[in-house]
Symmetry: D2
Subunit: 142 residues, 4 copies
């Protein structure tokens, strides 16, 4: 299973008055991880979208293990946990770059939407991106 | 089981270029639902926090069923799905106020933190708020 | 000069670790004020946009006088400070609903964009909304 | 006059349904520019804050010249436009990294707050950071 790691730094805007990162912002970091995973695999999500394919989020799960704090460097590790022509599931691990402490583990499930915003199968040309064979055989699930 | 409904209107800032509400914003709406649930039950979350008790999110799950769109009026229905002196689980249903269409169902799990940001039991005086008896008997789980 | 007041409550997500509202969020509140100003005047911004007219922000100025805090009720007072068929300027005063303390004064300047995202004149039918005569005579500037 | 440039990539979460970056997000990018300016000058803003000094925003001005779009790489150029022991003014230029097109020019004014959240003079040790002499002589204004 291929994984990709991307780094970002916690912004002041992302903190809340508890002195830690507001929990909804982890979902934005997961988006960053997902986009960079695709870029590393050779596809820019913006090109995918320009070609009429959208990845709509249908489910999010996130477990928060330790707080992220202002100005910390964060590593978002991203992988494809499951993929079929109709659905894709990404897994994520979010950790502090310096200490290595895992801050959150999470996953998102997505369906592919066409230009009409209705579910469709992922076009053949993009299946390799998510580890599917051209025939759409599901990727191995870890 | 007590439920509380609160209303909000989708802000332009909450949309993304897919023309719908960006999915992380639902977590903010869930926060609004949670806070208004507490207010309706007689406790302002800010007073709870001022007294040294914090409700830290330890898990979020959200299933997205239909998109929310700019300027729509949204109803967030909130309830306590499970409560013990150490942990509370809120359930939510997010729907379009006009059509009644359910846009998302979700839940959050929380632990109580003390002023030292370490887990502690919820003080007795607040247990009624979440449907617990003073002895901390768990609320019925629906 | 017509003014409109709308109310909102500070969300936890809008605070930062300084314990006050993060300053960029005032711009979102100004958007809320602007949209509700239009609604009160009989036009939903979403209908304006659906008809092909967009109000693009070209300048923002905001002076922060006192911090807004979590869970406070906020009043956003909005008015049209200047209007012509090519440009509109909104003024805002943001205050604490309970104390009446003014927290910020601000203004935004906008141009009208057509469906091609290029500047255009505001269609005649909408000019009354911003206090312009049908001939596009500029509104009085306070 | 020293300037510092930092880069970031537009997140999907930062776009709105107009298909461009929502204008309030430029203020967050300006914060990123400010923080990286300080880091490059040898001071982490988090250490400044930990020492009891806060930089509170008292005014923002931003002129939007061209839209920023999803996934574009953005350069935030930051400099100190004016500095005295009581007040600092930062200037910013935001541009597209690829085309070099200037997307926005802006400035923020700040006062220094002590641990009691009241205005105070910037401690001597930090004055060099903002180009002030130890005696607090104002920096040259460009």
């Amino acid at each position: 299973m291929r994984t990709h790691e991307t780094r970002l730094r916690v912004r002041y805007a992302e903190t809340d008055q508890m002195g830690v990162v507001y929990h909804a912002n982890y979902l934005i970091w997961m988006e960053v991880g997902r986009v960079e995973y695709c870029r590393a695999a050779g596809v820019r999500y913006r090109d995918l979208e320009a070609s009429g394919v959208r990845l709509a989020v249908v489910e999010v799960r996130c477990r928060y293990l330790a707080p992220a704090r202002y100005d910390e460097e964060i590593v978002v590790k991203t992988w494809v946990a499951e993929a079929s022509p109709r659905l894709i599931r990404f897994g994520y691990q979010i950790r502090n770059a310096d200490s290595g402490d895992v801050l959150a583990t999470s996953e998102t499930r997505h369906v592919f939407l066409g230009p009409d915003m209705k579910p469709q199968k992922l076009p053949l040309e993009y299946r390799g991106l998510f580890g599917m064979g051209a025939l759409g055989a599901p990727a191995k699930i870890p």
